[in-house]
């Protein structure tokens, strides 16, 4: 299944009558708008950001957001940030970043976590606060920082150390329990799914095989992602990227550094990364470990207008769904796409812009294949027939997580901001975004371009 062939799939999709381009808004409800969204450049881990801490990145994203919107720092009512790998020193990273960015200390903040859709969760949390009338102005965002992760002693050593804290005379303790080899083995943050004990890349490889996705199709898709990201960067379309003067690094960081076009022959030679040796997922067709942060300003529409801000888009309907976490770990988009469309009363034809989180090329193609499968729809999605995959003509046209990078907690806001910016650039009305996350969770959201 190559990107080209997906395009030809889409031409056969259900050609139902195009819905009128009326707004999805309801005059009785409070409209939630995206005023602006920004992000730090997403960098490969271990590069220019390597000496920072995660809250540094999040602080820069928020600072950039405030600067670009010009909203007074004391007008913000709440901050919600999503993150996956938690730095122990800043467990409520939302508060640390907000204080650091100069937001009033009277503005509370909290941190959420939901694997790769953590900042989606941050945004929908903010959305709920605004839509239900609790708040008018919320900053949402997300950050992850893989250049430094909390590596801890194993439990044996930890319990020994905790005992030491209790016993005043350490010498006594040393006599009956000296640290042995078993104590020194360190624990990395879990990369395997807790419930299934399977690494995500391994599950993705099996998923791709289950949907008959070839290695070639995956390599082609990855190349497409990098090509489109490169083009979008060169054409200056990625306006959400902030310039970041990192302390100790001479040159300001201005763009993502993971975008590279690898020749197909070279890609074909790469070894399988998870299922060895016959697997199809390689380092070149997967997203890579990244550092980065993103932030968006969400407001109640009237309030934004009253403050003289120009909203970019409405956040309309969203959904979260989850599936069996072993064999269907990464099929979230296939499940959530038709559901969120139904909620909004739209069909795929009404959608002008599609942004899916790209965890693995194989995962994206498996989701598209699942949406094109009658068998899968009937057997697993409780639907009469296939739901149809989005057209490649609208799909991730400015690159995706495979090329731009994927700091887990930061990707959701990037998707929302990209949708808003693309709606304007491509003169569209509706955008759809979807993402998968560890635990077998999926998320999708419908956005509508703001008339201003």
């Amino acid at each position: 299944l190559s990107p080209g062939s997906v395009r030809c799939l889409s031409s056969t999709r259900n050609q139902s009558a195009k819905k009128s381009r009326a707004t999805l808004g309801n005059s009785n409800a409070r409209n939630v708008v995206l005023v602006e969204g920004v992000r730090t450049p997403f960098l490969m881990s271990g590069t220019q950001y390597k000496n920072l801490m995660p809250h540094d990145l999040q602080r820069e994203a928020i600072k950039g957001l405030l600067k670009r919107t010009g909203i007074p720092k004391d007008k913000l009512e709440y901050v919600v940030i999503g993150t996956v790998i938690q730095e122990g020193k800043t467990s409520n990273i939302a508060r640390e970043a907000a204080l650091g960015a100069g937001i009033s200390d009277k503005t509370p903040a909290h941190t959420v976590t939901q694997a790769c859709i953590s900042s989606n969760q941050a945004m929908t949390t903010g959305f709920n606060m605004i839509a239900s009338g609790q708040m008018d102005t919320v900053v949402a965002g997300g950050v992850d920082f893989m250049s430094d992760v909390p590596i801890r002693f194993n439990r044996k050593m930890r319990s020994l150390m905790l005992q030491m804290n209790k016993v005043t005379n350490c010498v006594w303790l040393g006599i009956y329990e000296l640290p042995r080899h078993a104590h020194v083995r360190l624990q990395l943050p879990a990369i395997a799914e807790f419930s299934t004990d399977e690494v995500m890349g391994h599950s993705a490889d099996r998923l791709a095989a289950a949907f008959g996705i070839s290695r070639l199709a995956q390599d082609e898709y990855a190349t497409r992602s990098h090509t489109l990201a490169k083009k979008a960067t060169e054409e200056g379309k990625l306006s959400d990227v902030l310039e970041y003067k990192v302390p100790g690094v001479a040159e300001p960081v201005t763009s993502d550094n993971g975008i590279r076009i690898t020749p197909m022959e070279k890609m074909a030679k790469m070894r399988a990364a998870f299922v060895k040796p016959h697997g199809t997922i390689t380092a070149a067709n997967s997203s890579f470990l990244s550092d980065g942060a993103s932030a968006v300003l969400l407001m109640e529409e009237k309030k934004a207008k009253a403050m003289g801000l120009k909203p970019k888009a409405y956040l309309r309907n969203y959904t979260y769904m989850s599936q069996e976490p072993k064999d269907q770990l990464l099929l979230g988009p296939a499940y959530t796409t038709p559901t969120v469309l139904e909620k909004a009363g739209l069909t795929l034809n009404d959608i002008d812009v599609v942004e899916y989180h790209e965890a693995f090329a194989g995962q994206i193609l498996a989701n598209l294949a699942a949406m094109e499968s009658d068998y899968f729809a009937q057997k697993h999605m409780n639907r009469p027939g296939k739901v149809g995959a989005p057209s490649m003509d609208k799909f991730n046209l400015w690159g995706g997580s495979l090329s731009i990078g994927h700091p887990f907690g930061a990707t959701g806001c990037r998707l929302v901001t990209t949708c808003a910016n693309r709606l304007k650039a491509e003169d569209g009305t509706y955008a759809l975004l979807a993402a998968c996350a560890a635990g077998g969770i999926g998320h999708a959201m419908i956005m509508e371009r703001h008339p201003d």
Binding site: L1, S2, S5, V6, C8, L9, F194, S195, T196, D197, H202, R206, L207, A209, A210, F211, G212, I213, S214, A217, V275, H278, E324, K326, D327, Q328, A366, A369, A370, S373, Y375, F376, K379, H380
Partner: protein, 768 residues
Amino acid sequence: MTSLIRTFNLARNNSFSRWALLISGSGARHLSVSSLLNGKNLNVDYQDDIAVVRLDKANSKMNTLSKELMEEFEEVFNEIQRNKAVKGAVLISSKPGSFVAGADIDMLKNAGGEAETTELSKNGQNLFNALEKSKKPFVAAINGVALGGGLELTLACQYRIATTDKSTNLGVPEVMLGLLPGAGGTQRLPHLVGVASALDMALTGKMIKPKKAKKMGLVHHLVEPLGPGLTDADTNTRQYLEKVAVETARGIANGTVKIPPIKHSTQDRVISYLLKFGAFEKNFFNKMIKGKVMKQTNGLFPAPLLIADVIREGVINGAEAGYKAEAEGFGKLSQTNESKSLIGLYDGQTHCKKNRFGNPAKPAKNIAVLGAGLMGAGIVQVSIDKGYNVVLKDSFSPGLARGQEQIYKGFNTASKKKKMTTFERDAIMAKLDATLSYDALRNADMVIEAVFEDIDIKHKVVKETEAVIPEHCIFASNTSALPIGDIAKASKRPEKVIGMHYFSPVDKMQLLEIITTDTTSKDTVASAVQVGLKQGKLVIVVKDGPGFYTTRLLAPTLSEVIRMLQEGVGPQKIDKLATSFGFPVGIATLLDEVGIDVAVHVSEYLGGVFGERFAGGNVQVLKDLVARGCAGRKTGKGVYMYSDAKSKNRPVNDTATQIFKSFELEPVEAVSSDSDIQLRLISRFVNEAVMSLQEGILDNPLEGDIGAVFGLGFPPHLGGPFRYVDLHGAAPLVENMRRFEAAYGAAFTPCPLLLEHAKDSSKKFHSS
């Protein structure tokens, strides 16, 4: 994928000629073997230069190596060798969960005498030797069980790939049928996995999981099973495995995939080095291996001893001698009574894994267990991991907590042994609702009571339960002796009352004895059997009657033991005589395990019902023991002392010895030799079993054998009481019983059915 669909559409729409082209092009190859393409038991699919041989035995859920399948395979094999366009082959199964489960047992049974069976083995060896020598690589793609001949088939292949699916298991379990791996297994295994590992596999017949198999060098490569996608998970996995295998076969053929060199474990390397020295070799095979076998089997099973010899022959004297010894050994073992007994038990197990009552109208989903004791908790343990929602109800909080701890411990141990993840453990435990209230029984489809063995308490429980449970709910009693008909007297719905007699410890003992009364409905039985089978039990269904089947057999045997104790035969001697006869636990020890108070209860009750036939020792002996606080293992002392739980050498309880002394009987010299003591035990046991069949308590002898072996520990090499009579003759048994009868009276009077068999030696309980 889509491009494929496109091609397909193109072909369908516009080009007949395109199809013609396909056929005349690569199809030429297809035609040349078209007569073989769809055999009855396998089919061949040519994927360019690789032949995919899919084993698919006709009219069978599993693949077994029958004569016909082997012949078809031989034809295909020769064709693959002849056909120049074929560069390699893949061997795969089309059956879900089964690669090849082993040789066809019916073929073995009908093979004939020693010479014919030896020939059968030689034929298999020759075919597999040719396969092993094939210049074109054969890749075995294993999903599901590869056992016995099935595994031996793969061992002759150049490369083995296995899925890590839960159903995938590898092993050579022939020893469990009293046979040896007779198609090269004893010769190839030492070479592939090392002598020690090969002996371990062949002597125990253990199943090897895929990950272990990879580590041992039994398979070269593992494939993780797939989930559902464009088709279901099973099909997806088989197709994927086939794809990987085809790529591998092609890779080996064109040199891009190297077959990794054989690498044995350090232990195996050390042993194979030391085996070069005669002294070590003798010590290793004779003392270490055979000594261990003798210790574990008391020399009652010829197969493991011969397996050790055959493996030694190949390792020490080379392949030719080894293969010869293997074929001859196979022929020899096939004629032994032990093998016939064990194959009979295998048939019995197959029989007892089927529900002869059909599917129940409403399969049980919610089960409630009353009483959180050892048995109750055990029943819960074997149910919650089988998809049932289970309520465990007890009347007291400490009892309930103890039961919960027992269940958790069972699964926690499994997770520590990596049989499941801690997550799976917790997910299983989430199926348990432990409660002190009857309210939780509102949604139960089946209630199994495991409360104290007292008819008044049982009646009370029936009434309290029926006040809450829905109309359709089945009430099952886990009683070991109380007649189900008596328990049902308290019930409003006697057609829903049934007995489900589990054996302790429930998670280890395979047997479940289901007891039906005249009023129990067929649907109730069907449902109980279904639950039992899902719990992983071998299920026998018997009629209600005093002691049902198993308890009834135990009672006269215990009665005889008491007599022996009174006659001054020490408990240790009784135990030794029993275990050397093949009982897994000595009968005196069994008395302690069952509980002497229980034995009193059973003896008095059954003795009262059956009268003289159950006479023997004086029940007062047991009563005195109980009165002195010696009620068996649970009280720390019985016939033996159990002060130190870990100690293997348990001393005889002095109090017990005193009591035996006070009831001393004069032994009858003529029937007190060691072999007579063994026969006295076994003959009362067997006679009672035959009686149960005669009276219709048992439905068939197959279930009688399974019940005796798996519930009561009847010596497995004898195959159960009925197989024993069939193979060893009713006449000699009756003759001995008459001698015992002369000494002790009616207890040893052979029952009419046994006498019939003694009169006519052509009469058999089992048809095969």
